[in-house]
Amino acid sequence: MNSDSSSARALSVAITGSGGSGAVTAGLILLEAAARAGCYGLLTRSSGPQIRGGESAAMVRFGGQPLGCMGDRFDLLVGLDWLNVNRFADEIPLDGEGVILFDPGVGAVPPALAGSGARQVPLPLKEQAAAIDGGRLNMVALGAVGAICGLPREALAAGVERVLADKGGSVLEASLACVAAGYALAPEPFVALPAPGGGTEGRWNIGGNEACGVGALRGGVRFVAAYPITPASEMLEWLAPRLEQVGGSLLQAEDELASVNMIIGASFGGVPSLTATSGPGLSLMLEGLGLAVASEIPAVVVNVMRGGPSTGIPTKSEQSDLNIALHGMHGDAPHLVLAPLSIRDCVFTTQWAVELAEHLQTVALVLSDQSLGQSRVITEAPVRTPAPLARRVEEEPEEDYRRYALTADGVSPMTLPGVPGGIYTADGLEHNERGTPSSQAADHQAQLDKRLRKLEGFDYGPAWAELHGAGPLAIVTWGSTAGAVLEAAGRLEAGGTPVRIIALRLLAPLRRAALAEALAGAERVWVVEQNHGAQLFRYLHAEQALPAGARSLARPGPLPLRPGEIVAAVTATA
């Protein structure tokens, strides 16, 4: 049996079932077990919009090097039941090389899957589960998958103990027995995965929403106000108790309008603050964000994008909020837009966003998405970077203190409530240097200039993008799509086509000169993104940042962009 054709050393497994079947739990254990066996891994989950029941799938890909996307095809599909599996048919590409593992007792393999030509391996999963007190089919299936993939039994057991730690002794015991029974059922092993050298020391198992939470804490965020929304809620649920542990707090607001104004109020008080939301919530927050820009109060929003517009596809991913993030605020409102390039990078990018917002006294929008937020990865621990960028606070203001002073770099030292002699009124109305409302043209021009100057003139260093490779073929991408582009480039290079990748982390203000330098000499330029409107492509065109003849590969969600389709697109025009 072949492993994932996208990379000789990666294996893709999908575990599908109806809600409550334990597909995701089995996937989480598989990921942890593979990690303990020395593999890197990535788990994405797919579910419908229902709360209980419906469909549920965990897709796990593991291999010998870090993985930034799902592959083009699956090696193994495990059907815990077939109740809603038709909804997954196009998310889990199978072929004649693949294997479908199932219990005939749950029914024959449905035509949508059987038609792939994948080899069917029936196993008595149900029977084994029934023989164990408290036994469950998903755990038996997990044992069989572990054996097939060549995972050591101890790694599986450790995975069970880690993931089910809070379930209680009897559940744990029954699960371990089921895994052992399933392990014994395995018909034949898959290709064993080579573990990379160096062992698992220092690696993390972390989800993207949690990673943004870690970045927020590292960046100094100590107040969060938010309204729950899919797929951002896990970030808030993770942060609520942990903010308290570091001396901060989270307030569940009555709506998104309240959330954003609450964080602006808290930040006015001097506490770095953040909110997290998804598309519809971001729409509601835009007025407040304009206020933060005008009143120069730091504010950070992590927008975990989902399919849009409107309520769209809440549980699945898309990169279609770039336009609103760049252009949604009324008036001339320069601000920062950033996008993490991987789950691991959610830590750095969120921390950087907080620091930049604090230092530049402005708004930073972080465009994460569902495919990052609700996935987990086995990765090297994100490096702890010192936080050199803090808010410029005026602790001993002079008599003539001017909150919105027209400084050379555009950043004006800010006093915080409680500081004598620094009293001012922060204002979303246009104002003069003292903060007094003013509708005079000169004041408006001066303040607009200053708010732009502080963003345009700042030295963002090399973190504005991740650059890889060289050559006449250049691919510009952003955010989560970088993972698929990286893998596509690996294949192109293996086939003799060198590729240079420019994965944008800082989307606004656009680093035009740095981008021009990175694109210098490129003969063919592609812009790759996951949305219908080619939003980045159009933005770069508007900024005159693309050479003539640049092409767009823009495909909407919710299916993830796969490396194979990127390779196909850019080679078709070679």
């Binding site: 942890e32 303990r36 698992t200 220092g202 690696r203 993390w204 198992n205 972390i206 949690e210 870690v214 804490l217 590292r218 100590r222 107040f223 106000a225 942990r242 903010l243 308290e244 542990q245 570091v246 001396g247 707090s249 307030l251 607001a253 009555e254 709506d255 309008l257 309240a258 959330s259 104004n261 609450m262 964080i263 602006i264 109020g265 808290a266 930040s267 006015f268 008080g269 001097g270 506490v271 603050s273 007025e287 407040g288 206020l291 009143s295 621990a381 409530p417 409680g418 500081v419 004598p420 009293i423 001012y424 009124t425 922060a426 204002d427 979303g428 109305l429 903060g435 007094t436 409302p437």
Partner: protein
């Protein structure tokens, strides 16, 4: 060295109000500075938060930290500030449109969240800044707005009764034509440990000249302030909207952050380690 007692004028900024001559908000500004002086609150430890509207300009006229935000969101910004900075005296101020129409949802939830802050609504039953449209507290038969030529035709919003139903623990009504009574109410509201709501009848001479009658219509509460919500509900349901004084005062659980640092970030990150 002894610190000189603060006087009302110490709380006045040097910015000239945009209000029309005769506006009731001048009296609110004056009463507020007197109340702050009476309480001896250091001016840098007070923060006034507002939304949009004539009365929402007030923070700029007070010599304290101020925040003039967007329409309807004063209570949200004030709540965030108080959660982050419990050491500050936080006051939200604004008008009837800002507080009860666009900000209505925040009003309900600020009442029930019961953070320790004061909310002063200068109620003139009209949108003054946009030149004379009906507000939630405008009567159904008021015919003077071009936007509602047949009158709003909608029942009035009942701020005090709604605040009570939403869970507020301190509800008072003042009148800008009674500055000393208003000063006493504001001082009590700022001292109250929780969300204190003060509706101030503050006439708009420009768009509601008929409110000259308010001087004859207002009357004090005949009984002592009640701490009984059922009794308060009875009083407020029977009320003509012109009763001034503290209408309800009861100490209720106050929302405050439970931030007690107990771990480092590095310790928290251990949960991800294999």
């Amino acid at each position: 060295m002894t610190v000189a007692a603060l006087r009302a004028k110490d709380y006045k900024s040097d910015i000239k109000p945009v209000w029309c001559p005769g506006c009731g908000d001048f009296a609110v500004l004056s009463a507020l500075t007197k109340a702050l002086a009476h309480l001896g609150l250091p001016k840098e430890r007070a923060a006034l938060i507002s939304g949009i509207g004539c009365s929402s300009r007030l923070p700029a006229y007070i010599n304290a930290y101020g925040f003039h935000g967007v329409h309807g969101r004063a209570l949200a910004a004030a709540s965030g500030l108080k959660a982050a900075r419990p050491d500050l005296a936080v006051l939200a101020v604004g008008g009837d449109g800002d507080g009860f129409s666009i900000g209505g949802n925040h009003f309900l939830h600020a009442c029930r969240r019961n953070m320790d802050m004061t909310y002063i609504v200068m109620d003139n039953e009209v949108y003054g800044m946009t030149k004379g449209q009906a507000s939630p507290t405008t009567g159904p038969d008021w015919m003077d707005s071009k936007m509602t030529p047949h009158g709003p035709g909608v029942r009035r919003f009942q701020p005090a009764a709604i605040a009570l139903a939403a869970g507020a623990g301190f509800i008072a009504r003042g009148f800008s034509g009674d500055p000393s009574g208003l000063t006493r109410i504001l001082a009590a509201a700022i001292e109250y440990p929780g969300f204190a709501f003060v509706q101030v009848l503050s006439p708009c001479p420009t768009f509601r000249p008929d409110h000259r009658d308010w001087k004859e219509q207002v009357h004090g509460l005949e009984a002592e302030p009640t701490g009984n919500a059922v009794e308060a509900a009875r009083i407020l349901q029977a009320d003509d909207g012109m009763t001034t004084g503290i209408l309800y005062a009861e100490e209720l659980p106050v929302w405050q952050p439970r931030n007690q640092a107990s771990a480092s970030i590095a310790e928290i990150e251990e949960e991800f380690r294999l």
